[in-house]
């Protein structure tokens, strides 16, 4: 069996966005820290956020508490990546 490939938190966030929102690899590669998410991407509703958080937990082997999730987290791609980076070092 092919081993688990270690990926950066940023790569994990991109892969999860691609899978959950049904975007192409090229579309997700264009995301920058300033790319707006919640409100700007119609696919990203509260149901999608529920799945996104669980997928991030699974891929980065982290646990995300309710009180860590607020509107600011999903304002921009950069916020979400910074949060993922912070969680993997906890």
């Amino acid at each position: 069996m092919q081993d688990k490939v270690e990926i950066t938190p940023e790569a994990a966030v991109r892969a999860v966005m691609q899978d959950i929102l049904g975007l192409s690899e090229e579309q997700v590669a264009e995301f920058t820290a300033e790319t707006e998410l919640f409100g700007a991407l119609p696919e990203l509703d509260s149901m999608a956020v529920a799945g996104l958080l669980t997928e991030l937990e699974d891929r980065l082997d982290i646990m995300i508490d309710d009180d860590e999730v607020d509107g600011e987290l999903f304002e921009t791609f950069g916020n979400l990546v910074a949060f993922a980076e912070m969680k993997v070092t906890e």
């Binding site: 092919q2 892969a15 509260s46 958080l53």
Partner: protein, 235 residues
């Protein structure tokens, strides 16, 4: 004329549960065990596309309804993970199935058949499925002004059936799912999406339809799944 998918049944706990079947003359039978809850609805089209593709290579396939799901006559609130495991085992025995392809959390229901051949797509632990469903419930509650939490819901689920994303889940099912990890049978082949970094025997290009907001399809991925299952059954 190409046969169409038809409903057959399997007996479990003195009841008949439905099973979608697509016959091929070869006598090679594969059971497809669907994902759980919403993920099942989002992947049903893909699973039926896989069945059609398997038929073109002369493999019969069976897609059972799990008790409490889809057309099952039993309320989900009365169902346990043990029931699902025994139901899937009963379906396999009654339709003489030796090869099982299970999808996502469907892998948790095949644990009672360690000697069968198992093909698994993107296996997931039960706790992850429950956390997404609890988060969906929390988001819905918030819109009506209620303040629920993951820990509060998990506590409530120990004592009484709770509603999560439209499913009434009893305490036994919640507790069993929360502890359930994908089985590791002797004969297994794990398939994952190319975008997934976890260990896999084969990576398949395609879409994580089970994570999408709406049911969809991905014909190329359905064909790739059927091709890999057919090669694995043929060994």
């Amino acid at each position: 004329m190409t046969p169409l998918p038809a409903f057959v049944s399997y007996e479990f706990a003195d009841r008949k549960e439905l099973c979608l079947a697509l016959d091929a003359p070869s006598g090679r039978n594969v059971m497809l065990v669907p994902p759980l809850f919403d993920e099942m609805n989002r992947m049903r089209k893909m699973l039926v596309d896989v069945m059609r593709a398997l038929q073109t290579v002369d493999i019969s396939s069976f897609l059972p309804d799990l008790p409490g799901c889809n057309e099952s006559p039993v309320p989900l609130a009365q169902v346990t993970l043990t029931d699902w495991q025994h139901a899937v085992q009963a379906c396999a025995q009654q339709h003489r199935i030796s090869h099982i392809a299970s999808f996502r959390a469907g892998v948790l229901t095949v644990a009672a058949m360690p000697d069968a051949g198992h093909w698994m797509l993107s296996p997931v632990k039960g706790a992850a499925i429950l956390r997404t469903m609890m988060r969906t419930r929390i988001a819905a509650d918030r819109e009506t002004g209620l303040n629920t939490s993951l820990s509060g819901l998990a506590e409530q689920a120990k004592a009484e059936p709770i509603e999560l994303a439209g499913n009434i889940i009893g305490p036994a099912l919640f507790s069993q799912l929360n502890d359930a990890k994908p089985p590791t049978p002797k004969h297994q082949r794990i398939a994952r999406l190319a975008s997934d970094n976890k260990p896999a025997d084969v990576q398949i290009d395609g879409s994580a339809l089970w994570l999408r907001a709406e049911p969809g399809d991905d014909p190329a991925m359905s064909c790739a799944i059927a091709k890999d299952i057919a090669a694995w059954v043929g060994q």
